[in-house]
Amino acid sequence: MYSSLIITNNIHSWVLSWMPAAATGIIEMIMIALAYLTLFAVLGLFLVLMERKVAAWFQLRIGPNRVGFFGMFQTIADALKLLSKELTGTDKADKFLYNLAPYFLIISSLMALAVFPFSKNLQAFDINIGIFFLIAISSIGVIGILLGGWSSNNKFALIGAMRSGVQTISYELSVGLSLLTMILLTGSLQLSEIIEVQKSGWLIVQGHIPAVIAFMIYMIAGTAETNRAPFDMVEAESELGAGFHTEYSGMKFAYFFLAEFINMFIIAAIGTTVFFGGWLSPFGITESIPWLGVFWFMIKTFALVFLMMWFRWTFPRLRVDQLLTLEWKYLLPINLFNIVLMAIIIWLNFTIQF
């Protein structure tokens, strides 16, 4: 973490004081990895709790309110329960792939988390092809789903996994193209650079009409990529049991479950970074205090997460053919047209900048 934040510098010099330089690098990498793993677990648990609470409120229920203050520790209790459960498996399952599958999902979502700038310089890995990396990584996760469905020797799991393949492959096209529309504005794939550009107005303001269209398409396709309702063909409880993770239990199931929620966070975080200025505060009100960037980043991201939950508890589910119609007949042509529109707007200098 090449950072100018005081706290990380302090840790760096502290570790250097009793370690050779080579070991310091490794120690710091491990510390960062641990920090991200903690973030992963805490975020996952919090998002599950949030989902349950928000779902309850949308349905005029109360939601979990027994464990701890307002049910705050409900998901922790659930996680402990899952930890203590037996890991079952089917008879003729391909044991190696079966055990490997959850890690594909977890690792891909962790790798995606690593590139986000949570605040100025608070970023583990400022790669210069940031957006490209994110798009690539977020489609690796589907391999985990396919492996899990294939190896567990269960036809429902297999159908769920195949649907997931169809869905992710079609919709990541829209995610990519809608992000590409915004890349036309920024002229860079690097996430820190993208945020730098937004100092003169968030991209959704800078790009106005095409940016709003791109945002809508991104949210639709992003929801589809995370396999959430209304696009939950993969887990379709009413048709497929639990879909690709039907045969998983205990902690391995929890990995799938957490990864799904982290993926939702990742989609929202990409949306925040690309459309809503990442950690930048509105109108630069807290520009002098860089660590508040984390606060703004989280607020915006959770607002988008809430939007996705709102979708989930409002919209009716799609059939598989409707799903593909929506992507190939509507989103894709609109997206291509939108890119041209954005290019024209930039060419004629019609962008709004402060």
């Binding site: 928000v54 949308f58 005029l60 229920r61 709102w310 979708f311 409002t314 509507y330």
Partner: protein, 158 residues
């Protein structure tokens, strides 16, 4: 052209839907329909239409309006009702009359279908709204609906 109107229509209806659920979301604080049951045991009132068990209301003179016509017994698909009756001389008119001895109701066999209540010509039985019907022994589920010493209200005819 229907392509574009489809898109417009789709977005508009989705936004309408989000408006409705958003309204629910904002009102969930006050309007939550969840009953936190054992906590609010004292205040919880069941709805009028809730079917707990069949009871026979008695008035203050310990009189009910069951004539012992057995229509409920015939209507019940499970045989949950047994009427034990007798022909007795009515003390007022001096004529012989069918009078009920025991109206036996097996809650354990009842499916809460309500056919007996619909069949009763004199509205002698109705639904009670109690729902804590668990008991420790099966025999406690067999109930005699008419109270001991009760008699049919004067003027209620078959």
């Amino acid at each position: 052209m229907s392509y574009f109107s489809d898109i417009y229509h789709g977005i508009r209806t989705l936004l309408t839907g989000m408006g409705v659920t958003g309204k629910y979301f904002l009102h969930s604080r006050k309007g939550a329909i969840t009953q936190q049951y054992p906590d609010n045991r004292d205040t919880l009132k069941m709805f009028e239409r809730f079917r707990g068990e069949v009871v026979m209301p008695h008035d203050e003179n310990n009189e009910h309006s069951c004539t012992g016509c057995q229509k409920c017994e015939i209507a019940c698909p499970n045989g949950s009702i047994e009427i034990i009756w007798d022909r007795q001389v009515d003390p007022e008119t001096g004529k012989k009359k069918k009078l009920i001895d025991k109206h036996i109701y097996h809650l354990g066999m009842c499916t809460q279908c309500g056919l007996c209540i619909d069949a009763c010509p004199s509205d002698a039985i109705k639904w009670a709204q109690n729902f804590e019907n668990a008991v420790y022994d099966r025999s406690q589920l067999t109930r005699v609906l008419n109270r001991p010493g009760s008699k049919v209200r004067a003027g209620v005819e078959e």
